[in-house]
Amino acid sequence: MSTRPEFQRTVLHDADIARALTRIAHEILESNRGPDDLILLGIPTRGVTLAHRLAALIERFAGAPVAVGALDVTMYRDDLAKHPTRTPQPTQIPAGGIDGKVVVLVDDVLFSGRSIRAALDALNDIGRPAAVRLAILVDRGHRELPIRPDFVGKNLPSARSERVNVRLSEVDGAADEVSIESPVASDVAASDIAASNTGAPETDGGEAR
């Protein structure tokens, strides 16, 4: 992270990320009609950080603590044979379990949707929540499965060849930032942009749905 590649541009600064999380926290409270029975489960690594931040915000707005944990999906992935071995991360389910609760899955980037498919399978082995919602900081499109987020920080049309990097101060030790990195700028053909693929029409500034 010390040397910045040439074709990297910042799309969200720390203040943008803070605003997006504040809005998502309000939206979660609104759709759930309060903080009751909510459990935020982050998908490691940065999803867990985001889940804790959201939990703190919800507690501040609603005046009641909300359960937060981590859900590792490594063992449920469908691409284990096609990629280098992944090291699993801890799963922490809040005491009391998830049965009958409203679970909000939290992740940093939504891409193919396969992590979320794996997360839904993992949840199935842990209990039976009343409902499962999905909160995402950045939706970059290119879905490969019929999965759609309920709460989005920012819709970010991207090319498949690009990389979306999320930096969070707790994990990366640097200021919060979302940046997009292209291998070679000219490679990104207009037709490759996934604007029509995000599953939701874009509103002003690509925010909110």
Binding site: D72, T74, M75, Y76, D79, L80, A81, K82, H83, P84, T85, R86, T87, P88, Q89, P90, T91, D107, V109, L110, F111, S112, R114, S115, D121, N124, D125, I126, G127, R163, N165
Partner: protein, 321 residues
């Protein structure tokens, strides 16, 4: 990681990785649904040329919890008793599409032969070969020590400064050998305690201290006391005068148990000869980690099968979120 053949050549980072993944596997074993879909469609063959119940069912449980298909191949009553060679057995398994072979063999080096011969493409896990090594046993022992020492804060840690005394039949013990190499790699200090007749001839190259007197070893305040099983089936020569004499001098009896420092754990790879190398009070005391070791065995073997059967070892990629 392609194979797990020994702990002598196992790098520190790989050892810690196996133990860390085992922590995650252990976490899933407290859930209501213990089965993970991870190795669906993979076939694990337990190829056991020597009798074993514990190790085999531990590997079987580990593979099944990861949704792999398990084929148990015991040499007794099989084509091996009709004179089939290791090569022909291996090629048969290859033709059947085995993805991993867990092998126990009376000949030291049989797993390495299987892994390097080209007879079979499957990953090979050594489940005990002759008097050579038994790497998953050492890994589960290290896992248990780390857990007792650091509790929930175990991930990423080694065993630096941890003092382990391994007591008993070092000569015939592959468990002792695997533990010596692994614990040394993880930074522990190892003392071997045995009658001179039950030590290998030349262990000057081993990173250990040798004591012939158990009471002196206990006086040095080990954090863990690992009692090895006296394998009565191997005691055909005169290694010690009598079982009673062995028990009195090298067994963990009630008197020695009472004299152990606070916090010293008592380990045993099982099955135990109660009253010979370990007394019933020691085996059933809160110091005893025997059942924790069995539990750790399943987690560690799940971790090994996971690391062997998925991808190759490089950093996690950003793709496919």
């Amino acid at each position: 990681m392609r194979h797990l053949l020994d702990t002598r050549t196992l790098a520190r980072e790989d050892a810690i990785r196996i133990l860390d993944v085992a922590e995650d596997m252990a976490d899933t074993q407290s859930r209501e649904v213990k089965k993970l879909p991870t190795l669906r469609g993979k076939t694990v063959v337990n190829l056991f040329f020597e009798d074993s119940t514990r190790t085999r069912i531990s590997f079987e449980a580990a593979a099944k919890r990861l949704s792999a298909d398990v084929i148990n191949f015991a040499a007794k009553g099989s084509s091996v008793s009709k004179g089939e060679s290791l090569q022909d057995t291996a090629q048969t398994l290859q033709a059947m599409g085995a993805d991993a072979v867990v092998i126990r063999h009376s000949a030291s080096g049989a797993p390495r032969t299987l892994a390097t011969s080209g007879w079979i493409e499957a990953g090979v896990v050594n489940a005990g070969d002759g008097t050579h090594e038994h790497p998953t046993q050492a890994l589960l022992d290290a896992f248990t020590m780390r857990k007792r020492r650091y509790g929930a804060d175990s991930r990423g840690r080694d065993l630096a400064g941890f003092r382990v005394a391994v007591v008993g039949d070092i000569l015939h013990s592959r468990v002792a050998r695997s533990n010596v190499w692994l614990l040394h790699t993880l930074g522990a200090d190892i003392t071997l305690v045995a009658p001179p007749t039950l030590l290998p001839q030349d262990i000057s190259a081993w990173p250990v201290t040798v004591r012939y007197d158990l009471d002196k070893a206990i006086a040095e305040e080990p954090h863990a006391l690992m009692m090895l099983r006296i394998q009565l089936e191997r005691m055909n020569a005169s290694y010690f005068p009598s079982e009673r004499e062995y028990s009195r001098r090298w067994g963990l009896d009630a008197r020695r148990l009472a004299g152990l420092p606070d916090g010293t754990i008592v380990m045993h790879p099982g099955p135990m000869n109660r009253g010979l190398e370990i007394c019933a009070e020691a085996a059933d005391s809160p110091r005893s980690t025997v059942l924790e070791q069995v539990k750790a065995g399943v987690s560690v073997r799940m971790a090994v099968l996971y690391l062997l059967l998925t991808g190759q070892n490089t950093a996690t990629t950003e793709e496919e979120r």
